[in-house]
């Protein structure tokens, strides 16, 4: 059980850590100053959430690993994030669509975690839920602006959705870890979260005049440490300093 809880907490944490890193890549490159700051704010929100979760994962594991140890000294096969969040930023529509698909999953997940039997996860979710509410508001609104904007913005938003859709199946994977914790009342069931995701996506895409992609092949494996080629590059950059100068502090 503590093994499953460790893995589950890492999954929650790694989604946020990797997404945070992706969003931080926009710092200084945003399309306008206001959006640059909005994305950097968001990157920091996720970094804070990830730290809380990694600290907790370290406690659950009981081997004395800190949040920094878990962030900087694990290889990509030990990362448990979904493939969606490691996908490259692409154009701004890609970044927004990736945020939106993640938010439509993450907000109901945080709401559901408030009823978890694990007090620590409840506390972490309680803090994250307000941030997640704003994140979804920001990304939804941009989906509508792009989709219902010019021909070009519509096309770019649709392309981004079509490209990323294959990564949405993994958000709701029911494996042994998930089932064990679901049974223990710690992890919320995927069904209602998928239903909330569907309803958000359908509603926003309708307003955005965008077409919901058909469910086809769904890429999975991230939850078990099998990632796309992109994660290695992210970790190389993120972990360089700790790897080159082990134990360095600043």
């Amino acid at each position: 059980m503590s093994n499953a809880l460790f893995t589950y907490t890492l999954r929650l944490a790694d989604d946020l850590l990797v997404l945070s890193h992706r969003l931080s890549e926009w710092c200084g490159h945003g399309p306008v100053l206001e959006e640059d700051i909005a994305l950097t704010n968001r990157a920091l929100d996720h970094l804070g959430e990830a730290r809380n979760l990694l600290q907790y994962a370290g406690q659950v594991e009981g081997q004395g690993r800190s949040d920094d140890d878990l962030a900087f000294l694990r290889n990509e096969r030990q990362y448990r994030n979904v493939k969606l969040v490691e996908q490259p930023n692409g154009d701004y529509a890609h970044t927004i669509a990736r945020n939106f698909l993640f938010d439509a999953y993450h907000l109901p997940l945080m709401h559901a975690l408030l009823k978890s039997k694990d007090d620590q996860l409840v506390a972490i979710a309680g803090k994250a839920v307000k941030e997640a509410t704003y994140h979804l508001r920001h990304s939804s609104e941009w989906m509508v602006r792009f989709g219902d904007g010019t021909d070009e913005s519509h096309q770019r938003a649709q392309t981004a959705l079509d490209d990323l859709w294959t990564f949405t199946g993994e958000l709701f994977v029911e494996d042994d870890v998930q089932k064990e914790l679901e049974k223990a009342g710690i992890a919320p069931a995927s069904g209602p979260i998928k239903a909330a995701f569907d309803s958000t996506v359908n509603e926003v895409l309708k307003e955005a005049t965008l077409k919901r992609p058909e469910d086809g092949f769904m890429a999975e494996g991230g939850r078990d440490g099998r990632h796309t080629e992109h994660l290695g590059y992210i970790l190389a950059e993120m972990q360089y300093l700790q790897r080159a100068y082990p134990g360095a502090e600043w």
Binding site: E34, I37, A38, N41, Y134, E141
Partner: protein, 97 residues
């Protein structure tokens, strides 16, 4: 920049720091509409807990007095000290006046 019709309009941002206090002008930003202006204001101007409420006004809707009118508008108040409530003796024990 403002000559470019593709640029978003300029908005002036007012933040209320605490309930009951006034909204103070804190700066400006660009946004396509009011909703975006409020979100941008949240991200740009309330990151360090400055805010409790946000007002945004499109800059073009603000009418300002002209600098060249300043003398006629403001100088006449210079020699009218009797308009300041400084000639009263403070009642003993009154703290918040």
């Amino acid at each position: 920049m403002s000559d470019n019709p593709n640029n978003w309009p300029l908005w002036e941002v007012f933040i209320q720091s605490k309930r009951g206090l006034e909204h103070k002008h804190v700066g400006s930003l660009h946004a396509a509409d009011a909703e975006m202006a409020i979100e941008n204001a949240r991200d740009v101007y309330t990151r360090r807990q400055e805010g409790n409420s946000i007002w945004v006004v499109e800059a073009e809707h603000i009418h300002a007095s002209r600098p060249e009118d300043a003398e006629s508008l403001f100088d006449p108040a210079d020699d009218k000290v009797y308009r300041h409530p400084t000639f009263y003796t403070m009642p003993e024990g009154a703290k918040y006046i």
